[in-house]
Symmetry: C2
Subunit: 395 residues, 2 copies
């Protein structure tokens, strides 16, 4: 009875659900403290104290009719949008105004809004494997076609030669995600410059506009003072999608924004259409209390020491066991090479030691597994004996 | 550069924006207290004190990692869904369980989720004029075709004879909205019974499933103790979309739910698909803090005395001037017959008296205008001299 487009989705989702249910079953059987669930990207760091303080201040100070009311524009409160723009300008030397910002229901909401805004049926959206599997669903929602560039497993930087050959007159957008889920890699400035040059040349060659969509939920989660280039400064047709899910540990509250700079072709029309898309997709506006919360917490710095400690312990522990893995510079994922070709076999073997991981196939990169280390440090320490036993099966 | 589908939307939205901007301009020129803006359905009643209390309790009592985290299921917190189900069972004698409830980003989010779940391109969705214009956008999002039944301007009950002729083998859903925006009419139990009988017969005739989608953001806003039938009890294939926007004055917070009863054909598949649609449309889950808030406020009764007083004053005042109008039994709208055929002319004339109204054409019912009386009582009282002057131009 359901839509044909949804049928495959439901089957696939049942597989993920089965995995989740297995985790729950294992926790019941062995005790939650004896199950090492590295499958989910749900931050284990609580929201900073400033979030609670901001909510209470807002409840005390603001008129509830405004605080909980529809915003005048579907794009959000004018003052919140201005605060976000000024914060970006201070941090990245950009020159955005409030009108360039659209508050969104997280980054997932923002990506849907911009793809709804831009895509005609059959338009192509290029992304680089390994990538967050939802990009395929979001593109499919608007009858676009997702085109994959194969992974460079030596560095997990994008394969730009292959990218160049895959751009066609039907290419409407390119999605990049840096710091990257699932690899934790940050695209270097050199990579970004070459990517931008290729896109500029192809725009000229085909006489088209190709939008670079930068999905940045992990922007604040970087280690060793690595710089994450701000992409609007390298390529004019860049649109940024951001989320406070990770930086303020508010994933369930669904709050983020899109940046649509003046430099984007027909930016006024794109902004108007994105405003309308926010309305007609049923978001209507980003949750109002949380809009005001993030504005009040705009200068809050993300404490990444928690994740950094997890990263060092898990990375070091796995390397010691003999596993191969790129050391992540950002996000909270390790992307580990499976010691056997079929990584699903490896995931199954890990379950014997109560270790749950996601197969790389879910990110269009078989032969690898993803471990989300946004868990308690104790979980990581206690998982290491299991990893050592697991390693003995292969090395 | 934007999608073809969005082009018409942007043009239309500019018209609404122009109206909104005119209101702002008028407020600046004449003072906000001298402009009588009846155009927006943004509740002027503050959220009840229990909402603030609930938020503060939740911040004090709940683990922030859970309170602001992703919910395990995209359909929402299990305890919240169970609380909603039990509350409905107590009030309406239904027998829902938590699994039948999907928490949504308002009713607009819920309608998008269920239409994404059900519609194949070309499927028909029937609704009764006058209707909330967004039904057309939501249906169009999934390449469905909205089919209108013309208005019965004598009663504003649905025209069931015409409805029957418009059901085809391609009819996938019927959307009803009672209490109704823009008329304030509540569909009688007799209407619902006849509507259900027609749909049952057509399901049999065509061997299809036709879903009745009940959009109920105004369920709690009824006057004179009028009963609003709970539609799942009259027709098995009924899906309910609800929002707390009006009942708890939380429109900006985007919180509501869908009810998908076991009686719906293939209800498990529909529930799974709606769960997936919630994820892939980018909602991911309804805002978590607000999910917990509505569960805590589940027995809060909406104080409708504010709206009732506005209703009596505005309805009485307009009748005295000679305007024709059905007395609304619910919601917070008056649907007034334009004294001239072209109601846009009437709206333009009203602006001379600083009165802003929405033309009925926006609801597929030209010749009428909608007034939203969710404004301060003072605004209504102070607008009446203007209406008297306006009436003199016609009667």
């Amino acid at each position: 009875m359901i839509a044909d487009k949804m049928k495959g989705m439901v089957a696939n989702s049942s597989a993920i659900r089965a995995m989740f249910e297995e985790g729950t079953r294992m926790a019941e059987k062995f005790g939650a403290e004896n199950v090492y669930d590295f499958s989910l990207g749900n931050p284990n760091v609580p929201a900073p104290a400033s979030v609670k303080k901001a909510i209470i201040e807002l409840l005390d100070e603001e008129d509830p009719v405004v605080l909980h009311g529809y915003t005048n524009s579907n794009s959000g409160y004018a003052d919140v949008r201005e605060t976000v723009a000024q914060s970006l300008n201070r941090r990245f030397g950009t020159s955005f105004e409030g009108k360039n910002i659209i508050m969104t229901v997280g980054a997932a909401g923002g990506l849907n809004v911009i793809l709804k805004t831009l895509l005609n049926p059959g338009d192509e959206v290029i992304t680089f494997a390994p990538y967050f599997g939802e990009y395929r669903s979001y593109t499919n929602n608007y009858d676009g076609v997702l085109v994959e560039v194969s992974p460079d497993t030596a560095t997990f930087q994008p394969k730009l030669d292959e990218f160049e050959t895959k751009i066609t007159p039907k290419t409407k957008a390119v999605i990049v995600n840096t710091p990257n889920n699932p690899t934790g890699v940050v695209y270097s400035e050199d990579t970004i410059k070459r990517l931008a040059a290729i896109m500029e040349a192809k725009q000229k060659e085909f006489g088209t506009d190709i939008y670079l969509i930068s999905d940045e939920p992990y922007r604040e989660l970087v280690y060793d003072k690595v710089e994450v280039p701000y992409l609007t400064k390298y390529y004019a047709n860049t649109i940024v999608g951001y989320s406070y899910s990770k930086s303020l540990s508010l994933p369930g509250e669904r709050i983020g924004y899109l940046v649509i700079p003046d430099e984007v072709t027909d930016s006024e029309t794109v902004l108007s259409a994105a405003n309308v898309a926010t309305r007609i997709l049923g978001f209507v506006n980003a949750p109002t209390l949380q809009q005001k919360v993030v504005a009040k917490c705009i200068d809050e710095e993300t404490d990444i020491s928690f994740y950094d400690r997890n990263r060092e312990t898990l990375y070091g522990g796995l390397k010691e066991c003999g596993f191969e893995c790129i050391k992540p510079e950002g996000a909270f994922y390790l992307f580990v090479k499976s010691p056997v070709e079929d990584e699903k076999e490896f995931c199954a073997a890990a379950k014997k030691y109560h270790i749950l991981m996601v197969p790389g196939s879910s990110f269009a990169c078989p032969g690898y597994v993803r471990l989300a280390y946004c868990v308690s440090h104790e979980t990581i320490v206690n998982s290491l004996p299991g990893f050592r036993e697991l390693a003995k099966e292969y090395f």
